[in-house]
Structures are given as C-alpha cells and as structure tokens.
Symmetry: C2
Subunit: 434 residues, 2 copies
C-alpha cells in the first residue's frame, strides 16, 4: 500500500516532486547508425529497418489513397461522429489562438513588425500497436492546418501485413492528410528529418513515441529538423479539497496510471481523510480495469500527499509542474490564477483529464517531466515561426544612426558602424549634389 | 576573387544554399565531464574550471553590487545615452508583442483558455573577450522583464583579474539585473542548468557563445534546462535590385563578414552589373577595416548570385532562410509578403542590418543555419510558456461525455472512459436521490 505523506515541510517539496530517474538505455549509437544508413541508402534502408523491426515487407512506403478511402468507408459511424465532434472543439480552440501581426510605427521613419509564418512542411508521428492513438492525429493535424502548414506528412508503423491500422488511416483522411507513409520507429523519424526518395524532408516533427522515436526526434536536430517537445512519461497531479468526490479523483488517477508502468500519478489532498478515501477508491476501482497490471505498477510510483495549507499546496503544485493538473476544488478558478507551472489545467469536479485528452478542445501534446516550467504544450504557434521586419526611412536612419555607431564601436565592430556611416555620408551629400 | 553565379537553375538552389559543413569537434565527452563535476562539486568545480580556462582566481562567483555600481558610474555618457535610446525601442517593440489571454466559451458548459505565464528564473549568457557584447544584454534582459520573469541571472566570463568587463556590468545594471556571476564557458552553463551553492538552477538559458557554450546549452536539456535556439554562425543575405546602392550593400556584407571567419555572406543581385559593382565595392571597403583579415576569410565562403527573375529570387531567399535578410529593393514591402523563411528582414536602402543589431527595436538573437525554416528569433514568448485550462460543468460533461468514451474505447483506454462514466452515473442518480 502507498504511504500517505502528511503535511511535508515546504523544504521537502523539491524531493517529493522529483520524478523517478528513468533508466534509459544509451541509444545514441544505434540512432546515429539508423540516420547514417537512411542518409546513404534512403528508402532501401527504411524498408530494411521495417523488415527487421516491424517484420513487414513493403513495396511502397506511401500508403495508397484507395487503401485510405477503404479504411474511411469502413469506419464505424459512432466513432466517426465522435471524431467529428472532438475535431470541432479542437479546431475552435486552436483557431482562437491566432493573433494579428505585431506592428509598431515609431512615427520617426522607423516601422517594425513581427509576422507569424507557417512552417511549410511538418511531420506527424503516430505510434502503432493494437490501440491506435487516433486522437493524437487530431491534436497535431488540426493545429497544423489552422497555422497554414502547406504539407503535412504522417508516418505510422505498419503491422506484420504491411498495413497501418485502419482507424489511423480513416482519421488521417478525415483530417485531410494526403501524405501517409507506412513506416515507424527511428527510421521513420530519420526519413522525415533527412528525406528519402519517397519521403521529402520535413522542417519539424511532432508526436509521441517509444524511447527510440524520442531519441531519434532529438537526434534529428543534427539534420536541421526541429521537434515539438522533449520527451517524458505522462503525468497527472490531482489536487483534492474536502469537497472533492473520491470516486472521481480515483478514476482520474487511474486514467493516468493505465498509460504505462512509468506514468506519474500524484494526489495532493487537503486532508488525511480525503487522501485515504481516494486511495481506497483507487485500489477498489483498479481491480476491474483491463489494464490493471500496468495501472498497479504505475501506482507503485505514485505519491499521495496531504497539504492542509492552501498556499503551500499551490507551491507544491508549481514545484511539481504537472503535465495535467486537475483542481478538484471549489476554489479551482481562484487557484488557477496562482498556477505557474502546468501543461493543461482541469477545473472542478466535472472536468476529468480524459475530457481534455480527447474532446474539450485543448491540446493533449503537453510538456512532461517538469518541462512545464519552460515549455508550452503544442498549440498553433508550434506550427509557425515568427519573422520580424523593419523599415527605416532616410529620416529614421538619421534618428538612430548615432545610437548604432556608438554601440557598434563600443563592441569594436567597426564595419557595423560603417554600414551606417556610408548611408549618412550619402545623405549628407545629397543637398549639395541636387 | 569570388565567382559570381549567373542565373542558376532553380534546381541548383538547394546546393547553392547549403551552408559549409562545420568541422565541429566532438565536445560531448568534455561537456558531459564538466556537467558531472559541477553536479558533484558545485562552486568548487566552477572555480576550478575558471582557474584553468579563464586563468582567473575567484573568491565569490557573484559580482559584488559595489563593483557593478562602480562600473555604472564610470560608463561614458555617450554610450549610456545610446544604450538608453536603443532600450526604449527594444522595450516598445517587445511590449507590442504581448497578447491577451485566449478565452473560448462554447456556451454549453465548456469553457477553455490559454494563458502565457513567465518562466520564473532565466539565465543570460554573455561572452567575454575584449569587445563585450553589451547589446545582447538588452536583447535578452528587456524581453525577459516584459514577459515578467521574476529572476534574471547573468553569467559572463571574467578576465585574468577576475572581473567582468565594466561595460557588461554597467549595461546589466541599467537593465536592472541584480544577479551577476563571473563565470563563463561550459561551466557557467552547467552551473545555471544544475544549480550550485552560489547559482540557483534556472529553467532556460539564453545567449550566444563559442562552441563550448553552445554544446553545453544543448547538453543542459539533459538536466531539464531549456535553451533559446540551436547554434550556428551568423548570416546575412542581401537582395539587391537595380536601384540598390552598391556601397551600402558592400558595407552591409562586410558588417556580417567581420563577425567571424565562419560568417555567412550571400548577395543576390538582379543583374550581373549590380553584382559586379557590389563585389568591387566590397573588396575596396574591406581593406580599411580593423577586422579586415576576419572579413576576408568570411568573404572566401560568401556567395554572389545573379537571379534576374524576381519570383526565382524569392524562391532562392526562402530556400536559404537567412538569419538576416536585407531587401535592398524598391519592391521591398511587396517582397516581404512573400518571405517565408528569415529571422529578421530589413526593408529598403536605408535599413542596414546593424540598425537591427543594436537599436531599431527588433531582437538580434535569431535563427541561423537554416533554422529560420522552423524557429522564431527570441521574442517575448520565448520567456513565457503557455498553460491551457478547461472548465466543464455538469451540463458540459453530459454534452461531450459520449464523445470521450467512444474515442477512449477506440484507443482501448478503458480507465479514460470510466473517468467520464463515474461522473455521468453520479449525475444520473442525482434526481432520484434528491
């Protein structure tokens, strides 16, 4: 049984908030080799890795549009309706994130601006397996389209028969994705990052994956290809005050725990009584879960903490910086104002994490492992980059020319100063010449 | 003499736009060792590295406030005025980048939002040497303050005498930075990323540096510390149409070339005549530069390209994705609309890159080496992270509960579905119970 940590001193928060250190294998050598082979042999290397790791034989990496349409035609109508409804919410929320161009006119001949421009070509990685992460397609493809990315590529590993799970194809089709490739693992990431005969190089890769995929996404930086977020196991912190409903909190903790044995589950309760009730409910509910064994393993690493003082509880929440934060509290809205570090926050008793995982409209690709302290979850901005610009008139240059030359010479960068001087000299001569 | 590439076929653009491959030493082993020692020995290790690499003996890493005030008191008034004027423009432009919170109410009991929250504690690295990069302090500290970062730390290497260049201290003081540490190189990055007795861990590190600093910033990711941008030598692409003024363009190319022998300088001209005139001017102006030898080396790697067709020139510009892009053209404003990949764009004949480097108000910390295709330059957003949140009422949960359970079960995540079911069952019982 899990020990409940009662009213720890704030000085202990950092230790309690530490994630278990993951014994990640050193994959650098393997990943570097995959990239090298994909770089030198292209599609041949990708197919060879697919043969070895996915035990699938492929003629074409690209999935035929007829196969996609077939999968779409066979999609169950209930799932199709659900995906449509979720898509509407996701589309609405990510559209609301779009902002006007920044423009500033100093009125002295200097005008500045900053415009968001879509990343032209992006890659989406969707893991394979028996349970396809079709919701992740929505979470990545919809913001990419709203941002205006012209080319969206989806890679997902094939099963033995060489085919991608039909649900993935069907949902990709609903999202309007035209370029789908049956390849997975590090070789898929390498193919997207470098480019092969079939798969043209992308500028940024999004999406979850196993440790090989994650290591490959980080390695892709060496090939000029960006990635969405650093990796880490999924996490949930629930804060439960005395009005919380233990069976709800327990169900939420288990929805996180079932993800994987390395999932992080933290419960902060405002009283020992509430903590105990949640704990009992959790152990009661876990028994009937199909993924009971996985959830049980995750619970072994979970933490139940009682913090009676609300300010201290908020400090703890911010110290942890959870990927998902449920505030099962009557004061949820007020607490939100004080939340500094979290990926996505769920307010009140009727707002489970799973609502955000699928359908509320917020994105479920979020920073884990404490990265919420410095990273945003995936949003429309992640599919754009911002370009600044400036326009300076003759008058504007006279206005700031001296500032530039003074600073440039203080930095001993004479050519920087002369780029101003050559223009000011030219302007000073003009009245006489004309 | 540089060869002018005349009207290359668009199929050759990718090759012409390739940056020279940098022979970067493999620093991984060295960097890992620095981090390991700083992790285990803290300040002692940092001081030992400082003794070895900077040949400076330090009692305290932290710079005394009296020393900072002394440096500020001795600052030349002309430089102080220039820094103030530049700061005003930088402050105004970065303030203009702030946006309202995103809020969306679906009107059915589901409300969503996305709020920007400052990164609490950030580190700024400023390289040392005889010519202090004081402008970079403004470019990082001012947006950090506007974003609302509570704690801003500055690290810069000491010279032999153990002191940071007075200009750096004075400008840091003008920016209101209170925490300044005399340490540089990989050990400074390690100290900020891990934390020592003197230097508390930061969440994100900004700023330029040599290859050790750059490698250390990337390595800091292993310690949960983010960085601003991937590294690369500075670059400038100038597009010059037939109305461009060759002496201006030459001065701009040289302002980039003087940065370092690995600086990237590209000139795209609309005619051979213009290209030739710029080239001659460049070789004429370089002779009298203090940093002539560095600039000459950079020019050896530079490219002069003639592209008569404007659409093709724009394709070339977007293929290159320059850190700095000067459009010395009468059509600069129209061309800007078509620029997809660039860090910062300078419009017209009187808008040299050096204006943006120091004083126009745009940021000079920009993506290099083609990263402009996927990365923004430093802006206010870089000092924040965005947290999403959702509030769902009983009614809202009834609205989307079925969507969530359908999708969760399609992904075989039963506990996700049950987190909805437990609530819906509770709500369905309410009318009978009450």
């Amino acid at each position: 049984m899990i020990t409940i940590i009662e009213n720890p001193s704030p000085s202990e928060f950092t230790d309690i908030c530490k994630r278990p250190v993951l014994k990640s294998k050193d994959l650098q050598g393997f990943i570097a080799d995959v990239f090298k082979q994909v770089e030198s042999s292209g599609d041949v290397a990708v197919k060879e890795f697919t043969r070895t790791f996915d035990r699938a034989e492929l003629n074409d990496l690209r999935v035929d549009s007829a196969e996609v349409e077939r999968a779409f035609a066979q999609m169950e109508s209930e799932l199709m309706y659900a995906v449509q409804r979720a898509s509407e919410n996701i589309r609405a929320f990510h559209t609301a994130q779009i902002r006007d161009e920044t423009k500033l006119d100093f009125g002295n001949g200097i005008r500045l601006g900053q415009k968001a421009v879509p990343i032209k070509r992006v890659g989406i990685y969707i893991p394979g397996g028996t349970a396809p992460l079709l919701s992740t397609i929505l979470m990545l493809a919809i913001p990419a389209q709203i941002a205006g990315c012209k080319e969206i590529v989806l890679c997902s590993p094939p099963s033995f028969n060489g085919a991608i799970h039909p649900s993935i194809l069907a949902v990709a089709n609903m999202c309007g994705i035209k370029e789908i490739y049956a390849c997975g693992g590090a070789q898929a990431v390498a193919a997207m990052a470098i480019g092969t005969e079939s798969i043209k190089k992308v500028m940024k890769i999004f999406g979850p994956g196993n440790q090989f995929v994650m290591a490959a996404k980080a390695f892709a930086m060496n090939y000029g290809c960006a990635m969405d977020l650093p990796a880490g196991p999924s996490e949930l912190l629930v804060y439960a005050d005395d009005q919380a409903i233990p069976s709800f909190v327990a169900a939420d903790l288990l929805s996180q725990a079932e993800h994987g044995a390395d999932s992080q589950v933290v419960c902060v309760a405002s009283s020992s009584k509430m903590a105990l009730e949640i704990l009992e409910e959790t152990y009661s509910q876990v028994e009937s879960l199909p993924r009971r064994d996985i959830a049980m393993k995750a619970l072994e690493n979970s933490r139940f903490v009682v913090i009676e003082n609300l300010d201290e509880a908020i400090d703890f929440i911010n110290e942890y910086g959870a990927e998902h934060l449920i505030l099962a509290s009557v004061n949820a809205e007020e607490m939100l104002d004080q939340v500094q570090n979290a990926g996505s926050v769920f307010l009140g008793n009727f707002c489970p994490e799973s609502a955000g995982d699928y359908a509320s409209g917020t994105n479920h690709t979020l920073p884990t492992n404490g990265w919420a302290k410095s990273y945003s979850g995936v949003n429309v901005d992640a599919f754009t980059k911002k370009i600044t610009y400036q326009s300076i008139s003759e008058h504007g240059l006279r206005e700031i020319g001296g500032v530039v030359t003074t600073m440039a010479r203080a930095e001993e960068l004479e050519a920087h100063a002369r780029a101003i001087d050559v223009r000011l000299n030219y302007l000073n001569k003009l009245p006489f010449e004309q």
